[in-house]
Symmetry: C2
Subunit: 252 residues, 2 copies
């Protein structure tokens, strides 16, 4: 697995898989990280490993939400840190938004520090969430910890590859939540203010591009947010997948 041939039909997917495996080795990725990554791989496979056209619209709406937010925070876990460190730092700078480390499984100061160091090595000036002392109401275990200068203060949180319980708890706490979740049936995606059903390695750079394009277009941002309907977003994605699989079933 260490030498991935460039011409392999799924070379990119294997490269990301390797990042996760190496992340477990180094301690950046939690023990539960690879299984979550595998789930993502499978759902991405169903999308054809491409951003769906309808999801491009959701990314635009997400960019509008991020620009309109008063205190947006990007929540970064081990998997997202190893998969897209540069583009996460770059997105945070473009919005601008705070970056906050969030690890649930095997939460340790070491892992938090490693993720923070990785983001700083890619240019982040500030990374929140280290030894965080604030708590999400109605959440227990390591999932409850958030930074008092980060998610606790945020009006909008961008959560990447996180779990449903937390998304729901953040919503119940009065935050807006943009989730990035490849599972078209997930609770996270349904509970979120807006879900982006895409691979983070593709959609984070697209989000930054949309942020740049919408920065001086207040009218378009308002329109996008007014028309936002996450129920429709989720159903549209599911229909696109059904259509794609239906075609493949015909060809099979």
């Amino acid at each position: 697995m260490s030498d991935i041939p460039e011409n392999h039909p799924r070379a990119l997917s294997l490269t990301y898989r390797k990042l996760i495996e190496d992340g477990v080795e180094s301690g950046l990725v939690a023990k539960a990280g690879p299984i979550a990554h595998g789930r993502g791989e499978a759902f991405d496979y169903l999308l054809g490993e491409e951003t769906l056209p309808c999801v491009l619209d959701d990314i635009e709406t997400a960019a509008a939400l991020l620009l309109e937010a008063e205190y947006p925070v990007i929540s970064v876990n081990g998997n997202s840190a190893v998969l897209a460190p540069e583009s996460l730092v770059s997105l945070a700078r473009a919005i601008p938004a705070k970056l906050e480390v969030n690890v649930f499984y095997g939460r340790t100061f070491d892992r938090e520090k490693m993720i923070s160091d990785l983001l700083k090595s890619k240019g982040a000036e500030e990374v929140l969430g280290i030894n965080a002392s604030a708590k999400v109401p109605n959440l227990f275990s390591a999932r409850q910890h958030v930074d008092k200068e980060g998610m606790a203060k945020a009006d909008l949180v961008l959560v990447l590859l996180e779990d449903g319980d937390r998304t729901k708890a953040l919503i119940d706490w009065g935050k807006k939540v943009i989730s990035v979740d490849l599972n078209p049936l997930s609770r996270t995606g349904k509970d979120a203010t807006l879900n982006i059903c895409d691979n983070i390695v593709r959609c984070v750079p697209l989000l930054e591009k949309a942020v740049t394009e919408l920065r001086d277009d207040k009218a378009k941002r308002s329109k996008l947010i007014q028309e936002m309907n996450n129920k429709k977003t989720c159903s549209r994605v599911l229909k696109a997948i059904v259509e794609r699989l239906g075609k493949l079933a015909e060809e099979a």
Copy 2:
């Protein structure tokens, strides 16, 4: 993750996940095992974590193939060993078939021995594949090793959660291959003599049941094998998934 509430809607899935995580810890499961398991979880989620009615038919046909084979071998890797050790040993005894350990990633004598010991602790009298010296033609790296008393001699191999390259190479070597692969679009499933698109924890016991039922019914076995068409099998599964997701998209 260590205490899974019994009433959790996906408690079984979490139990299997824990087995894989513990398997990595103990060395039974390879580093690449959790990612593969995650992919399986996602595809199983699309099936509703239930055996599809059309797959019950495929399981029956697979049982017929196993009973008709002269020298059937069940290939067991780390993931399948930790997920279904008892039922694999029981199935091998019922057919009867040989059990052969096969690990590609991080193949070591230690891991082979651990898998063999696990199967023996569940009642297996013989486990092949330890320090195997025969080779699959046209396969390289650790994937090529097979036991000269096992897969090398087999006319039929039941492969569980394995990779496409090997399935293809076994077919090219003149073996029949029954694969168990949850990915409805996988190369493994398409290349196999017959694919069972199901979770091994569900289908291995169902296979044993079908073996018992078909043992004295030579006529039915012949009929099932005659009517076997893996292309149809794969397309039928894909259509069933499309139908299920289509309904969910309507409800969403």
